[in-house]
């Protein structure tokens, strides 16, 4: 029993047409409060379709989504309420900026939740501080900002609703290295400040190894695996068979093993790698 539970979810596109296609089939998993979940899978594996069910943007063809033990579709008229509790940051969210000023754009979500006056201003200011949107930007047009800044404002707009679960669909796509690092930091900071549950779709195995508590691996609309970083990235062959890979640092260890070095290969971050080599060095000294 977690904050978010998906039970036997199936989503079929194309209805009764000849192009009928299961985008997601019979998926079940549960997410605990405060966890960081990574979702990986190649393009077309159903990742985006799956997360759009988590805040009621898509209705399951079959199965259900429970938020705090309640079926989010129990009362279809209330479905909008779930959107402020489970926030979804789309791919390239900056394409959805529309207001005249940065401040107004970030205010849009909380305003729709009924916040106004000082309370609204306080909420928006807090989020701006958290994501690093400086006061001198408040009155600027979001369209005058750089790509990375626009992304930041768009993410702040979802965070301003203070969702308990926040989902990011490839949040760093198209950004430069500095931009990618900044976005990852914003996500971590929000998680620390609010204790929220975070779900991230990503193609970067390196980022997932650093950030995620658990990884959900999608393949052809089904869950291939849902487990710890260790469980998922130890399964090298399995991942390769479904068109995915392990972090680059893990590949180096696999290659070392191939070269006849007696070394463990379950190393997923540079930090782990350094520790492992230090241990080896110490071991050799003592031998």
């Amino acid at each position: 029993m977690g904050i978010l539970e998906v039970k036997n979810l199936t989503h079929t596109y194309g209805g009764s047409s000849p192009f009928i296609n299961d985008a997601v089939s019979n998926v079940s998993f549960s997410v605990e409060q405060g966890e960081i979940i990574g979702i990986i899978g190649h393009t077309g594996s159903g990742k985006s379709t799956l997360v759009q069910h988590l805040n009621g943007l898509l209705k399951p063809t079959d199965g259900m989504v429970l938020f705090c033990d309640e079926d989010i579709w129990a009362n279809p008229k209330d479905i909008r309420k779930i959107r402020s509790k489970v926030g979804l940051v789309f791919q390239y969210p900056e394409y959805q900026l529309f207001e005249e000023t940065v401040f107004a754009d970030i205010s849009f979500g909380p305003k729709n939740m009924g916040l106004c006056g000082e309370e609204l201003e306080k909420t928006v200011t807090e989020i701006c501080e958290l994501v690093g949107v400086k006061p001198e930007y408040y009155e600027k047009s979001p369209f005058d900002l750089s790509g990375g800044e626009k992304r930041r404002v768009a993410i702040a707009g979802v965070m301003a609703m203070k969702p308990q679960v926040i989902i990011f669909d490839e949040p760093t796509a198209g950004l430069d290295p500095k931009g990618r690092e900044d976005v990852m930091k914003i996500i971590k900071d929000y998680r620390i400040a609010t204790g929220a549950t975070v779900i991230i779709i990503s193609h970067s195995m390196e980022d997932m190894a650093l950030l995620a508590d658990k990884i959900l691996v999608m393949n052809k609309g089904e869950i291939y695996k849902f487990g710890s970083v260790y469980d998922v990235f130890s399964d090298v062959e399995g991942l390769r068979n479904i068109g995915l890979n392990v972090p680059i640092v893990t590949k180096v260890f696999l290659q070392l093993k191939e070269l006849g070095v007696d070394i463990k290969t379950e190393i997923f971050t540079v930090e782990n790698a350094i520790d492992e080599f230090k241990k080896l060095k110490e071991g050799n000294k003592n031998a």
Binding site: A173, G243, Q255, L256
Partner: protein
């Protein structure tokens, strides 16, 4: 050396809200015919402006750009320049114009006024070169991002340019799509001798290049082979770039007292370097 492109003391200025910005500052650069060059730099470093200067889409405020000896400022030879240097952009969806793949690739050669038989040959060859021939009758919107981008590249090479300039062609693609594009570019370079200038944010894509150029604030701050460039991890980090995780690993090892060279990029070379270091102690 045989130069296909020569950039001589080029400055590029633009005006926005009455303020003049300098995107490229007194920059000089030669691109050798048949080479594979990668340009790295963070957003706003001037690399896209430079890309557009290379085929005359941008005209230098000061200085000159020569393509095969032709000044890109010269209006009469503008078409010739664009024929020699073809450009591919970030978003494949913005670059495809027709509803059938082969018609899309034919768009360029048709505009060159070629005979239908010649167009047919060029379209088929271009699609084969990017590995998309079997999709020639497909609809572009049903293709993956990497496939669409390969069709966009085919559309350019069907005009038989001598040089391809690509501005972050992999930024919107998944790892599989990215690999498809890089392999396609390497093949075009090695097998057809097409000069490639690739602008990217992904450091791994620089691994197989002949030359890597690093830009910051409108200037070139580093220029060398991939292993020369990635040796200098600190410098890259100060200009908002990072290094491949392989180089990062070697760099961290050397910081922790292991005697390893940090100028390795591929997984194989990195593993060999670590193996060598491990055998020493």
């Amino acid at each position: 050396m045989d130069k296909i492109i020569e950039v001589k003391n080029v400055t590029y200025e633009y005006t926005e809200e009455e303020t003049t910005h300098i995107a490229v500052k007194d920059l000089s650069l030669c691109i050798e015919r048949g080479s594979f060059t990668v340009i790295l730099g963070h957003n706003g470093s001037g690399k896209s402006t430079l890309a557009k200067l290379l085929n005359g889409l941008n005209k230098a405020t000061f200085g000159d750009v020569f393509v095969d000896g032709i000044n890109t400022k010269n209006e009469e030879t503008e078409i010739e320049v664009k024929r020699k240097v073809g450009m591919v952009f970030q978003n494949p969806d913005n670059q495809l114009v027709a509803s059938i793949v082969e018609e899309d690739v034919a768009f360029g050669p048709e505009n060159l006024g070629l005979a239908p038989r010649e167009i047919r040959v060029r379209v088929d060859e271009a699609l084969k070169a990017v590995g998309m021939y079997e999709f020639k009758d497909s609809t572009p919107h049903r293709l993956s991002g990497g496939q669409k981008q390969r069709v966009a590249i085919a559309g350019i090479i069907a005009m038989e340019p001598e040089c391809l300039v690509l501005d972050e062609p992999t930024a919107m693609l998944d790892p599989k799509g990215r690999a498809e594009i890089i392999n396609t570019l390497l093949k075009l370079n090695r097998e057809k001798g097409i000069t490639v200038v690739l602008i990217t944010h992904y450091m791994e894509e620089a691994e197989k290049a002949d030359r890597v150029i690093v830009m910051n604030n409108g200037s070139i701050i580093d220029d060398g082979t991939p292993s020369e460039i990635f040796k200098n991890v600190e410098k890259l980090k100060t200009v908002g770039l990072d290094v491949p995780q392989t180089t990062e690993l070697l760099y961290e090892l050397s910081k922790n007292g292991f005697s390893v060279n940090t100028n390795k990029i591929s997984v194989e070379d990195t593993a060999l370097e670590i193996k060598r270091a491990l055998e020493e102690f």
